[in-house]
Symmetry: C2
Subunit: 131 residues, 2 copies
DNA sequence: CAGCATCCAGGACGATACTG
DNA sequence: CAGTATCGTCCTGGATGCTG
């Protein structure tokens, strides 16, 4: 991109005008929730395909309720596909879609940023709280 | 850690081990809230420095309460600096720090992703809801 | 195994009113 | 102008127990 180099700015107003005023914020809010990013990263780590219990183990601290709900949202958003095998005991596998995989790049950018800067953030917080 | 270039993967477990298990998620949750990204983008748009009322106008729909609270968090995290001018009527200016500016790149990545993919997400949701 | 149903506590957020 | 205070609502998410 960068064809018209003029529109290289970040324009919140433009964001709000781009088709749907709520679209961007909605997507950002989605992946900003407590578990989505970790589930997405874990699923990718597990080769892009895993079953429920594998994810449960891969994401320490997540409850069944939240894993279930997070996966359901991801499925609804087209990020993962849920496949049920008619077996006993039941087996369910979740696979990342192409759309889901595209989320990995910007996510990685955020994770890197967080890793590189969280210490400075902590220091700033300490300084702030001292007063 | 990180010496071996093999560790180029996204490892949630590694994320959890990197100094503080909650750090990454905490930062992600922060910028995933309802207003932070828009305030950051707007402040950048306004030249990296603006007063309260300018931001209020730049971020449509935000209330004084939320703008105030969002700015306070950003200040605490070292993303912006709050400068009070002892005048009548009072004037307060907020300026982005270097740390805050560093947040812009990954944020832009997310915004781009959201813009490029929200339509596909909508379609997926429609298909899902039809059943 | 892979979940759903229920209950509950805490926080996010909006609306409104007030102030140095 | 740049907030704070207060109130009420909605939603998130944790804990627990039950099921096909």
């Amino acid at each position: 991109m960068g064809a018209s180099s003029k529109i290289r700015q970040l324009d919140p107003a433009a964001i709000c005008r781009s088709s749907d005023p709520l679209a961007v914020r909605e997507l950002l809010t989605k992946i900003g929730d407590k578990w989505t990013i970790f589930v997405v990263l874990s699923l990718d780590l597990l080769g892009g395909r895993a079953r429920f219990s594998e994810l449960e183990r891969a994401v320490p601290g997540i409850s069944q309720r939240m894993l279930s709900s997070t996966l359901k949202n991801l499925e609804r958003d087209g990020m993962v596909i849920r496949e049920v095998f008619p077996e006993v005991p039941p087996r369910v596998e979740y696979e990342m879609t192409e759309l889901g995989r595209r989320l990995l790049h910007p996510t990685q950018g955020l994770v890197d940023w967080a890793k590189e800067n969280w210490e400075q953030v902590r220091e700033a917080q300490s300084r702030y709280d001292e007063r």
